[in-house]
Symmetry: C2
Subunit: 126 residues, 2 copies
DNA sequence: CGGCATCCGTTATGATACTG
DNA sequence: CAGTATCATAACGGATGCCG
């Protein structure tokens, strides 16, 4: 793939591995989860995304959604009405990463099981 | 998978989505890259890993490797000799995430191409 | 409803120097 | 060679208040 990792340029940043680029787009604490929600549920209003992700603050959700939008991953549709209505959904590009998101999810489940076997005393509810 | 995301417990932390657990283990700026290197190259000495990842500092590499080791992803073998020799490699658990790592890498490449088509003026070297 | 602006503390990351 | 220790900065994340 890129064992020697030749220098790559995208925008004004340099990458020695294409994964750095991936992490640039979907890295962080919330983005994979947001993408997972939108990819699973389809079109969601802001408040629906918010409810579907416990613990996320309004600020972080807004911020992450905007970054995902800027990177072409998320579509944002504003309805000119009162009260406001904004709907979010994945773009085609966003959809294209869903298989990987699903893999991350499944690996987490198998890791939880591995962890439970390793430390059986903490296995409840996992 | 887990659309309603029932609460999960692993160790002493709570997760609403198994992906949070995945990100706990392989999240951060360097871990996916480190895993990718070890998975691609096999057994590497500390200095070899370091050379294969430009820009990473010694401190970050040490820290991330230790965390990966604590999570069972990486095997650390110390040779009692002077000068010291420490070899790192993926455990079976670490190997199990390599397919996902590969997917992340390939998605980054396709994203770069998509980006190049979207902004042809920055397409050089991508 | 769906934001934005501000302040603030916590983590994460990094540069540098030193050590067994 | 493979780290530690120290110091500094930047990014992340959260609480609160205001707005169209």
């Amino acid at each position: 793939m890129d064992e020697a990792c030749p220098l790559k340029v995208c925008g004004d940043k340099k990458y020695y591995c294409s994964m750095e680029l991936t992490l640039q787009v979907i890295g962080g604490k919330w983005k994979p989860i947001i993408i997972h929600r939108l990819g699973t549920e389809g079109v969601l209003r802001f408040s629906e995304v918010r409810r579907s992700i416990p613990n996320i603050t309004q600020k972080m959700l807004t911020q992450q959604l905007r970054e995902l939008e800027a990177d072409g991953m998320v579509r944002r549709e504003v309805y000119a009405q009162v009260p406001p209505k904004v709907e979010y959904s994945l773009t085609e590009l966003g959809e294209s990463i869903m298989p990987v998101i699903g893999s991350l999810c499944r690996w987490g489940e198998s890791y939880a099981q591995w962890h439970a076997r390793r430390l059986p005393d903490q296995a409840e509810a996992v």
